[in-house]
C-alpha cells in the first residue's frame, strides 16, 4: 500500500461538498452528485513549479501532483505530451488569425485522448487492489483499457454497443481483452455496467473509478498551457460526449492559474457535438442547463453518441461561466471537417475531430470566436479507427499499368493540363 498522497486529499461531492475517502466510489450517498478529486493546492504550490515540470519526462505524469493517485504511476507511464501543432494552413481556411491543434490522434498507446484517463484510472485501480478492470465504451475507451490492462497484466472486460466501427472492435480484441457487445445504445451499455460494477466488485474505469478516470483529461489542458509558453489559450474548442473533457479542461486552466503557473487571463471554452446527438449543444442553444436526453442517437460520430451525458450540466456551466458557447454540425459537415484537417495539416482525425473542426468553422463564421483571435482545437482520436465514416468520400486511387506511357497519359499529362 502506498503512502497517501500529500496533495490529493479526498473525494468531494460536486453538489453538496461532502467529503469522502479516496475509495472506489463515484457518487454522493446523499444526492447522487458526482464525486470529484480534491487537492491541497497550498501544498502543491511550492512543489510544482515551472522548473520542476520542465525537468520531468515529456508525459502527462509531469503534472502528477495534480493527478489523483497516491504513489508513482504504474500504468500508462508514457502517455501524453502530444504535439500542439501551429495550424497556419487550417487557420487560413477557417479565417482566423491564429490556430493550434492539440493532436491527441498520436497519443500513446491507442491513438486517442482516452489513454490519459485510463492511465490514471488503472494506476489507481492497482493501488486499490483491483484484479479485474472494465469499462463501458463507445470504442476509444475500450481500446485504451484493453491495451493498458494488457501491459499491466490486469484482466479486462470492455462493454460496447453492438454497432461500433470495425476498427474500434478489432482495436480492442487484439489485446486479448473480453469484448462484450451489447444489443443497445451506449446509454444502455452504461446502465448495465453500473449494475455489474455494483455486483462483482470490478474496477470500472468510468463507473466506480470515475473520479480518478475523469481527472486524467485535465492533463490535456495542462499540456496546452505549457506548450503555448505557459499561458491559457483565449479560446478552446473541445468535442463533447458526456461533457467530461470540456469540464476538465476548464478545471485544468483554473488550477494552473490558481497555482500561479500561468497568468489568470480570461478564457472561453466551446463545446462541439454532432447534430444527430447534441443534447448538450441544444440545451445550451435553448439557454437552459436542463439537458434533454436523446433516446436514439443518429450520427456517424459514434464516439460522441451519448444520449444521456453525465457531465452535460457542468459542461454548460463551464461554457456559460467563461463566455463560451456550443455548436453542432451534420454528418456531412463532419466528413468535410475531417478532410479539411487532413488536407491542411496532415492530421487524420476520427469523426469527433471532424465535429470539432466543423463546429469551430461555424463559431468563427458567426463571430462567436473573433477572427482576430487565437484558438486551440482539441483533436481527440485517430481517423484510422473510423474509416467507414469517410470511405468513398475522399476519391479513389487512379489505377494504371506499370508503364511509363500509361503514367504520362493518365496522370502526368492530365495533371499538367489541369494545372
Amino acid at each position: 500500500m502506498d503512502k497517501p498522497s500529500p496533495f490529493f486529499s479526498n473525494l468531494k461531492c460536486r453538489e453538496c461538498g461532502r467529503l469522502y475517502p479516496k475509495q472506489a466510489i463515484h457518487v454522493c450517498d446523499f444526492d447522487f452528485g458526482p464525486l470529484e478529486a480534491a487537492y491541497d493546492y497550498d501544498a502543491i504550490r511550492p512543489v510544482l513549479t515551472r522548473q520542476v515540470i520542465e525537468s520531468r519526462p515529456h508525459t502527462m505524469w509531469r503534472y502528477r501532483e495534480l493527478l489523483p493517485i497516491d504513489g508513482e504511476p504504474t500504468v500508462g507511464t508514457q502517455v501524453g505530451f502530444t504535439p500542439l501543432v501551429k495550424a497556419d494552413r487550417l487557420a487560413r481556411a477557417l479565417g482566423i488569425r491564429e490556430l493550434y491543434v492539440k493532436n491527441d490522434t498520436v497519443n500513446y498507446p491507442t491513438l486517442s485522448f482516452k489513454d490519459r484517463v485510463v492511465s490514471v484510472a488503472l494506476s489507481r485501480a492497482r493501488e486499490l487492489g483491483f484484479k479485474v478492470v472494465a469499462c463501458a465504451s463507445t470504442g476509444n475507451l475500450a481500446n485504451s483499457v484493453a491495451a493498458n490492462a494488457a501491459s499491466a497484466g490486469l484482466k479486462s472486460y470492455v462493454l460496447i454497443p453492438a454497432d461500433l466501427e470495425q476498427g474500434k472492435v478489432l482495436g480492442s480484441l487484439v489485446y486479448g481483452t473480453n469484448v462484450i457487445s451489447i444489443q443497445g445504445a451506449y446509454d444502455q451499455v452504461n446502465r448495465l455496467c453500473s449494475e455489474i460494477a455494483g455486483k462483482y466488485g470490478w474496477g470500472f474505469v468510468n463507473v466506480n473509478l470515475r473520479p480518478y478516470y475523469a481527472e486524467g483529461s485535465k492533463s490535456m489542458g495542462y499540456e496546452i498551457c505549457e506548450q503555448l509558453g505557459w499561458r491559457i489559450p483565449t479560446h478552446t474548442v473541445a468535442p463533447m460526449a458526456s461533457g467530461s473533457l470540456l469540464t476538465k479542461i476548464h478545471k485544468a486552466y483554473g488550477e494552473f492559474a490558481r497555482l500561479g503557473l500561468v497568468e489568470n487571463s480570461p478564457f472561453a471554452v466551446y463545446g462541439a457535438q454532432a447534430t444527430g446527438c447534441a443534447p448538450i449543444a441544444h440545451a445550451m442553444k435553448r439557454g437552459t442547463d436542463i439537458v434533454k436526453p436523446v433516446p436514439k442517437p443518429e450520427t456517424i460520430v459514434k464516439s460522441l453518441a451519448i444520449g444521456t451525458p453525465a457531465d452535460g450540466y457542468y459542461a454548460i456551466h463551464a461554457m456559460k461561466q467563461t463566455g463560451g458557447c456550443a455548436e453542432d454540425c451534420t454528418d456531412d459537415e463532419v466528413v468535410d471537417g475531417i478532410r479539411l484537417l487532413a488536407e491542411c495539416e496532415g492530421i487524420f482525425a476520427e469523426t469527433a475531430g471532424g465535429v470539432t473542426v466543423s463546429c469551430a468553422k461555424k463559431l468563427i463564421e458567426t463571430g462567436k470566436i473573433p477572427r482576430d483571435a487565437s484558438a486551440v482545437l482539441c483533436i481527440t482520436g485517430h481517423g484510422l479507427k473510423t474509416q467507414e465514416a469517410i470511405a468513398g468520400k475522399c476519391g479513389e486511387p487512379r489505377l494504371i499499368k506499370p508503364s511509363l506511357r500509361e503514367f504520362e497519359e493518365h496522370v502526368y499529362n492530365k495533371d499538367t493540363a489541369a494545372a
Binding site: 453538489e15 466510489i25 463515484h26 457518487v27 454522493c28 450517498d29 446523499f30 444526492d31 447522487f32 452528485g33 458526482p34 482516452k114 469499462c135 463501458a136 465504451s137 463507445t138 476509444n140 475507451l141 475500450a142 443497445g184 451506449y186 446509454d187 444502455q188 452504461n190 446502465r191 455496467c193 453500473s194 449494475e195 460494477a197 455494483g198 455486483k199 468510468n206 463507473v207 466506480n208 470515475r210 478516470y213 475523469a214 460526449a241 458526456s242 461533457g243 467530461s244 434533454k292 436526453p293 433516446p295 451519448i306 444521456t308 451525458p309 453525465a310 457531465d311 450540466y313
Partner: protein, 90 residues
C-alpha cells in the same frame, strides 16, 4: 410486485439488499412505498420539490422514465425498475 434494483449508494438504507420488491401503480407511488420500507430513500433519489434528482436515472425495463411519463410512468408487477446514477462517457 415490480422488482427494483438498488444501486450501491442506496444499499446502506436497504441493509445491503440489492434487489427489493415494492408496490405501486406508478414510479411515484413506488418511490413512496420504498421510502416507507426504507426510510430516507426517497430523499436521496428526489430533490426538495419531489422531482427525480439531476444525476439519477430511473429505468423501467431498460427504458428511461424521462422518455416515458417521468414519475407518472405506470408500472406492472412483472416490471424491472433500475435506479442508476449518471455515469461518465467513454
Amino acid at each position: 410486485m415490480p422488482t427494483v434494483l438498488i444501486p450501491t449508494p442506496l444499499r446502506k438504507l436497504t441493509n445491503e439488499i440489492e434487489e427489493v420488491s415494492a408496490a405501486g401503480a406508478t414510479i411515484g407511488e413506488l418511490l413512496d412505498n420504498l421510502d416507507r420500507a426504507f426510510p430516507g430513500l426517497k430523499d436521496r433519489v428526489c430533490d426538495e420539490a419531489g422531482n427525480v434528482r439531476r444525476f439519477v436515472n430511473i429505468f423501467v425495463n431498460g427504458e428511461d422514465i424521462r422518455f416515458l411519463e417521468e414519475k407518472a410512468t405506470p408500472v406492472k408487477d412483472t416490471d424491472e425498475i433500475s435506479i442508476v446514477p449518471a455515469i461518465a462517457g467513454g
